[in-house]
């Protein structure tokens, strides 16, 4: 199991579109993926959970990945967040 904290840096935060992308990426891997923020833990493969995290710009979330493909899964998730979900700002 690997854990990693990351800061949301895109302007709009984990809004609907970013949540969609995150859920889509998470769904590509067989590992169990959880996101934790302020003691709230949700399944990254459930868009409803991700949206309800309400992670705005500047908030920190922790990915918890467990499974066969946990390494590439974590890399893909971090990449997505750090790439501002491809939104450019």
């Amino acid at each position: 199991m690997i854990k990693q904290e990351v800061e949301i840096i895109n302007k709009l935060g984990l809004h609907a579109r970013a949540s969609t992308k995150l859920t889509q990426v998470a769904a590509q891997f067989s590992s169990q993926i959880w996101i934790e923020r302020n003691a709230r833990r949700v399944n990254a493969k459930s868009i409803m959970g991700v949206m309800m995290l309400a992670a705005g710009k500047g908030s920190k979330i922790t990915f918890e990945v467990e499974g066969q493909d946990e390494e590439p899964a974590m890399a893909a998730l971090l990449n997505l967040v750090n790439d501002r979900f491809g939104e450019g700002e």
Binding site: K11, L12, G13, L14, H15, A16, R17, S19, T20, T23, Q24, S46, I47, M48, G49, M51, M52, A54, G56, E89
Partner: protein, 570 residues
């Protein structure tokens, strides 16, 4: 019926009602032996909706905005989410209830969770959940979503409770003459879609869907925000005429977009735009505005619990300054308090917010926030022709404090080696009668003045703008208001300082000539009014209106003022 007109124009046609399935959800018990059947029915409905959404996704035209596709993706994912596609099945079994009711209950639970979210944007996503659920319920009830569109007839007026982005995409491919909805605002999907299609639209009609019958003849006047249901022959004829005139007029107006605003006797007039968010630039440019006369900064500060930081503000201001390519951009410092509250659940309640801690008063009371605000504006001045406008000035001491705050912000930027326009002009809003009476003094200490007529009228006549009971007393033509406006313009002109009017009066073509007669040469208004005002300017000869304008100023009787005004505009 009255609503909020979000896209101008007039449409006449038959109503096409989009059903609001959620209202029709019934609750009934299902016998134990039929529960499997009920679960199966639910699964099929989900599958049907998934197919519907996928087919919408695929049929998106190439030129559709990227957001449209993303919205449909989000809806597809919400649909597939266990909390919507699985949970209701357990509810059906546990409560032996029908599928619709199970889904409705699950939706209510989800919506409740969304409502607990602090972030406004994310909280609004509950509507996405509702829209997806609505589709499933329609499928369950056997109202397929497309069937409604089978018999298409151009000229139909769409009447809905609300439009989801997916609905909007579907409807885009059909020729509706207008959209009207029960809920929504100027930035709702309905409004954006209507403007992109250039058809009239009215939102926030509250009960349109219940009061209008399918197939009924209705008239939609997007400019006035009025819907007329079942018009008689005369009304219909009148609106047909108005519709034709409006269309001819729009074509004519477009032709003067590039024309310089000059009166018949050669006086050049500046016509600027009032904007609220950087995206308003598009409309501003389309209207051929020669600058931004009022950039309201408060929208960045509203509906949130914290202040936006300096960088976030700078980014918004820079965008506008840059986009206007050297044309003036007048940024008004924060004007909140009164009818525009920052924090929606602020504890502080005052009996008279319009007379309370607002605008410059609030800024001077929050020096740190004001400092960051001013730094952000000054930094943006490096990217275009920025001017700073201070709202709600009431006395000289306030003005001096504000000027000192600007100096401090400048000094701190110098210390940090950050560039800005050292000569950025600073002006003041004249909207308190005391300031209008002291306009001469303010003009001496400032680079320009701008009259905010909405507040000036409210304060002069003691009419609360937000109180419907006294709304009829709100009168821009009240002699006292006219005198204060004229007096301010005269004082600024005498001091050789720029003066503009940026309230509603500036965008009212009935008043254009009168204001020109008062000596006004700069108007700032909603971009939608610019071309009409420009046409009035082009048709005005200053030397010919002078004596009538003087008579209006001297008139003490409303009827006489109205008469003189009609004469002036003839």
């Amino acid at each position: 019926m009255h609503g909020v007109g979000v896209s101008a124009g007039i449409a006449i046609g038959r109503a096409h009602l989009v059903s609001h399935a959620l209202l029709e959800v019934a609750h009934y018990d299902v016998r134990p032996e039929l529960l499997d059947f009920e679960v199966n029915r639910f699964e099929q409905a989900v599958t049907t909706v998934r197919e519907e959404l996928s087919s919408i996704r695929q049929s998106l035209p190439n030129n559709a905005p990227a957001e449209m596709g993303a919205f449909v993706d989000t809806h597809l994912m919400i649909l597939s989410d266990g909390s919507l596609s699985q949970m209701p099945k357990s509810i059906i079994r546990e409560e032996s209830c029908n599928a619709e009711w199970a889904l409705k209950q699950q939706m209510d639970t989800l919506v409740e969770q969304f409502e607990a979210i602090e972030d406004v944007y994310l909280r609004e996503r509950k509507f996405d959940v509702v829209q997806v659920v609505e589709r499933v319920i329609k499928a369950l009830l056997g109202h397929p979503n497309q069937a409604a569109l089978a018999e298409q007839e151009s000229g139909m007026i769409l009447v809905a409770h609300d439009l989801s982005p997916a609905d909007a995409i579907q409807f885009k491919q059909h020729q509706f003459a207008a959209f009207i909805t029960d809920v929504g605002g100027a930035t709702s999907h309905t409004a954006i879609l209507a403007r992109s299609l250039n058809i009239p639209s009215i939102v926030a009609l509250s009960h349109a869907r219940n009061l209008i019958q399918d197939g009924e003849m209705i008239i939609v006047d997007g400019q006035q925000g009025v819907v007329i249901v079942g018009p008689d022959k005369d009304t219909l004829a009148e609106y047909k005429l108005r519709q034709e005139q409006w269309e001819i007029d729009q074509q004519k107006l477009k032709r003067i977009k590039q024309t310089a605003a000059v009166t018949l006797d050669g006086a050049a007039i500046e016509l600027h735009a009032n904007i609220e968010i950087p995206q308003d630039i598009v409309q501003t440019k389309a209207a051929g505005a020669t600058g931004i006369g009022l950039y309201r900064t408060e929208f960045l500060f509203m509906n949130r619990r914290d202040w936006p930081d300096e960088d976030e503000q700078f980014e918004a201001y820079r965008k506008v300054a840059h986009a206007m390519k050297g044309l003036p951009v007048t940024i008004r410092t924060l004007d909140i308090g009164a009818d525009k509250q920052v924090n929606p659940d602020s504890e502080r309640t005052v009996t008279n917010p319009a007379l309370g801690l607002r605008a410059i008063r609030l800024c001077l009371a929050e020096p740190q926030m004001f400092h960051a605000h001013l730094r952000a504006i000054l930094r943006a001045s490096n990217y275009g022709k920025v001017k700073i406008l201070i709202p709600m000035l009431c006395n000289l001491a306030e003005l001096k404090q504000a000027l000192q705050a600007i100096e401090r912000a400048k000094q701190s930027l110098k210390d940090d080696n950050i560039g800005f326009d050292a000569k950025v002009p600073v002006g003041g809003m004249i909207e308190i009668p005391a300031a209008a009476l002291g306009a001469e003094l303010f003009a001496r200490h400032l680079d320009f003045l701008s009259i905010g007529t909405n507040d000036l009228i409210q304060y002069t006549l003691a009419i609360d703008r937000t109180d419907g009971e006294v709304a009829h007393l709100y009168n821009p033509l009240h002699p006292a208001v006219l005198q204060l406006v004229e007096m301010t313009i005269r004082a600024a002109n005498k001091a050789k300082k720029e003066i503009s009017v940026c309230g509603e009066m500036a965008g009212d073509v009935r008043l254009t000539r009168m204001l020109l007669g008062f000596g006004l040469r700069q108007f700032s208004m909603h971009p939608a009014h610019i071309l009409a005002v420009k046409r009035q300017v082009l048709n005005t000869e200053l030397s010919k209106i002078e004596s009538l304008v003087r008579k209006i100023l001297a008139s003490n009787e409303p009827e006489k003022t109205e008469l003189l005004l009609s004469k002036l505009n003839a």
